[in-house]
């Protein structure tokens, strides 16, 4: 199986939508690459793929294109490369399963240090396929600070516990905002991610501040870690990527299971 040439596979997940999973996944992938790693980014959100816009890669003709695509040195696959952005993918679960398995197993990913998988929100078909078809190295849970997001993040944690995927830790996104006068505003409250990590007994991986440039960069297809590598937020992502690499080393001794 092709996936054997991939050293680690990290799922970026959350219970809730809109917490910035794709933004974290894209910038984390780029930050890992800045450490000298060979990195791929797989968009597992079949219904609402965000990777094509965030990396500025348009739809291609699947008949004449060899996947994975390449952008900023990242190897990429997304449903958004296959369908028109104005078109909706209206599928039941088994089709999601089928396409995800093809993305994972039929695409020549080659030798990789890390594959980052951007999961859709929730605990449904895409999550089940990934935890069954692969032996994930670990999951990173993204949350925003407020309780309504934490409730769903707990469900994500519980899912990974049940399917025995190691949780590398929790990232608190949109954690705070530093205004031009240097004053710190905690727009969506603060510290929820840290509390959740403590309650669940998993590492807290860090806080990512709010920066309007993140949205601007995402919409322009040039992620902030790539466009402004010296910005505080890019540095937060580099720190995050290092922490995740360390956590992976701790959990990487998962032994092979016997077969019959």
């Amino acid at each position: 199986m092709e996936m054997q040439n991939i050293h680690s596979i990290i799922a970026v997940a959350s219970g809730k939508g809109g917490v910035g999973k794709s933004t974290v996944a894209v910038n984390l992938a780029l930050a890992l690459q800045m450490q000298g790693q060979r990195v791929a980014l797989l968009d597992a959100d079949i219904y609402g793929p965000s990777i094509p816009i965030m990396l500025g890669v348009p739809r291609v003709d699947p008949q004449t294109t060899q996947f994975p695509l390449d952008r900023y040195g990242l190897k990429l696959m997304s449903m958004g490369f296959l369908v028109n952005p104005t078109q909706a993918v209206i599928w039941r679960g088994p089709m999601v399963d089928k396409y995800l398995r093809q993305f994972l197993l039929a695409i020549p990913w080659g030798e990789l240090d890390t594959m980052v998988i951007d999961l859709p929100p929730g605990t449904g078909d895409a999550q089940l396929t990934l935890t069954q078809a692969l032996r994930l190295s670990g999951a990173v849970i993204v949350t925003t600070p407020q309780e309504v997001s934490l409730i769903d993040a707990r469900k994500g944690l519980e899912m990974f516990r049940q399917v025995r995927v190691p949780v590398l830790g929790i990232v608190e996104n949109m954690s705070y905002f530093i205004a031009e006068d240097g004053k710190r505003y905690e727009i969506f409250r603060h510290g929820g991610g840290q509390k959740l990590a403590k309650d669940a007994g998993v590492p807290f991986l860090g806080e990512i501040p709010i920066d309007p440039r993140v949205a601007e960069c995402g919409d322009q297809g040039d992620p902030i870690v790539h466009k402004y590598p010296d910005s505080p937020i890019a540095k937060a992502y580099v720190a995050l990527s290092k922490t995740i690499t360390q956590e992976l080393e701790k959990t990487s001794q998962v032994p092979e299971l016997p077969s019959l």
């Binding site: 994930l136 399917v163 025995r164 299971l257 077969s259 019959l260």
Partner: protein
């Protein structure tokens, strides 16, 4: 030993004993024994579960694949947490989590324990 959801509940080795039994050696030292028939009868897939809930149909006609003796073709890991058994009749939708496998154990110790629990409840 009681079934637990602890991290030690991980299979270390699988082997066949004769044609009708599976031996599963666990990391925590427990040695489970199963007949393949028991595992198939308790198949956790949605279809089989539904079938077990229905009252038995006295007029049921066997399908052609039910006439051949049932045997396991393979037993392979699913992610980090379960096994899939593929049977000689093509059935392969059952995903047996480690917890389920431990609960289904038919070793003398577990069977005794099961009986005791039945009496006390």
């Amino acid at each position: 030993m009681s079934p637990s959801s602890s991290e030690s509940l991980v299979p270390a080795a699988l082997s066949k004993e004769g044609t009708d039994r599976l031996i599963l050696q666990w990391k925590d030292g427990h040695r489970s024994v199963y007949t393949w028939k028991h595992l198939r009868d308790q198949c956790p897939c949605a279809g089989c579960r539904e079938e077990r809930l229905q009252p038995p149909d006295p007029f049921r006609i066997l399908k052609p694949n039910e006439l051949v003796p049932l045997a396991p073709v393979s037993m392979t890991p699913v992610g980090h947490y379960a096994y899939k058994i593929t049977w000689s009749d093509g059935h392969d939708t059952g995903i047996y989590t480690f917890e389920t496998l431990r609960e289904l154990c038919q070793c003398a110790e577990c069977v005794q324990k099961g009986k005791r629990m039945e009496k006390s409840s």
